[in-house]
């Protein structure tokens, strides 16, 4: 039950993108097409899960004073793994995501979960939390990228969705679109949360 709670936490209550608003550099930059969103999300989930496992296993070994540099090294190692893997097997995708794959190393989400969660709990809970956070990040940026792709190009995952008469709103793919779509989504999620909070109060 506790594990399930840890897992769900990242998906909605403490969703890194919409609720905590951390690690959003990549969420804004790579979300020009839906497939980029999924790829970036899975890359981050991998790094987050692996580093949470290692940090949780090493939590009694790492001295408290140098813990941050230790976490950074762990995260950097797994980021290199993802970086080399994507460069070798998905060169086209790697080209599009650009420096945002190596930049996972300075993504606040990974370091924040290592410091605030994985270093304090056992292996099973650390994995549940990392998977929840990673998938929470993935659905959030996939949603953003689907909206941007749909409005900016009229396609979804590369397939034409909008009819012939649709005029693409190019701004959605350009930088301003990222900020505006993100702002409106964060606002919407706030509204939904306020509604559900009120309902639970009434009962």
């Amino acid at each position: 039950m506790q594990l399930f709670k840890d897992f769900i936490n990242g998906l909605w209550n403490e969703n890194p993108i919409f609720r905590m608003v951390i690690g959003i550099c990549s969420a804004l930059a790579v979300t020009t097409a839906a497939s980029n969103g999924i790829a970036m999300g899975l890359a981050l989930t991998f790094v987050l899960t692996c580093s949470s496992i290692l940090v949780s296993l090493l939590r009694s070994v790492i001295p408290a004073k140098v813990r941050i540099p230790c976490y950074i090294i762990v995260v950097a190692t797994f980021t290199t793994v993802v970086d080399l893997f994507m460069k070798a097997y998905f060169p086209a995708l790697y080209e599009v995501l650009g420096i945002f794959i190596p930049l996972i190393v300075v993504n606040c989400i990974v370091l924040a979960r290592a410091e605030a969660f994985a270093s304090k709990v056992g292996l099973a809970r650390a994995i549940a939390d990392a998977l929840g956070m990673g998938l929470g990040y993935t659905w959030a940026i996939t949603l953003i990228s689907m909206i941007r792709e749909l409005m900016g190009a009229g396609t979804l995952f590369g397939y034409r969705v909008m009819g012939e008469g649709f005029t693409p709103w190019v701004s959605a793919i350009l930088p301003p679109g990222a900020f505006i779509v993100m702002g409106i989504l964060v606002g919407l999620i706030n509204v939904i949360n306020r509604k559900t909070a009120k309902r639970t109060q009434c009962h």
Binding site: V21, T80, I99, L103, P175, P176, F179, G187
Partner: protein
Amino acid sequence: MAKELFFIIIGAVFVNNFVLSRFLGQCPFLGVSSKTETAVGMGMATTFVLTMTAVAAYFLQNYVLAPYGLEPFLQIVSFILVIASLVQLVEMVVLKISPALYNAFGIFLPLITTNCIVMGAALLIPMYKYNLIKSIALGLGAGLGFTLALVLMSGIREEMEFHDVPEALKGPAIVFITAGLLSMIFLGFTGLVPLG
């Protein structure tokens, strides 16, 4: 050469502003942009570290990583370590040389290690194959661009406190939308610098 350097700096500040069009350094852009005073301090501290990092990244890349063929698998690890220790070093030096300056932007320094604008600029230098002078120009330009975006945003946010923002958009949401409008303004600078 001078013309090229000018274009690199103008490009990093206006045309491809590191915050508003390359999306680097979003966390401090949202976190420390509520007051102009702190925004200026953070911007200056980041510019300082960015310029130093550009120099360090250039030497690390061209004299250590590339000659020994370590680039593919040690680049990320070594860059982040150099940035972390550089930030620590800058903090100690500033504290020793000028306590007044330390009070002004010392508290922002530890935050800069995980600011992706620093790591991003460091990674762009080997990608663009810049020489030392151009690397410094890129670091400086990135820092100035970051400061400009931060100060603009803090000015708007200070003004926004006196206005009615819809309840749901309070907090980060309205900041994103404001940033979107700012970014749209910066799109107007496209074409200011010739491509390539």
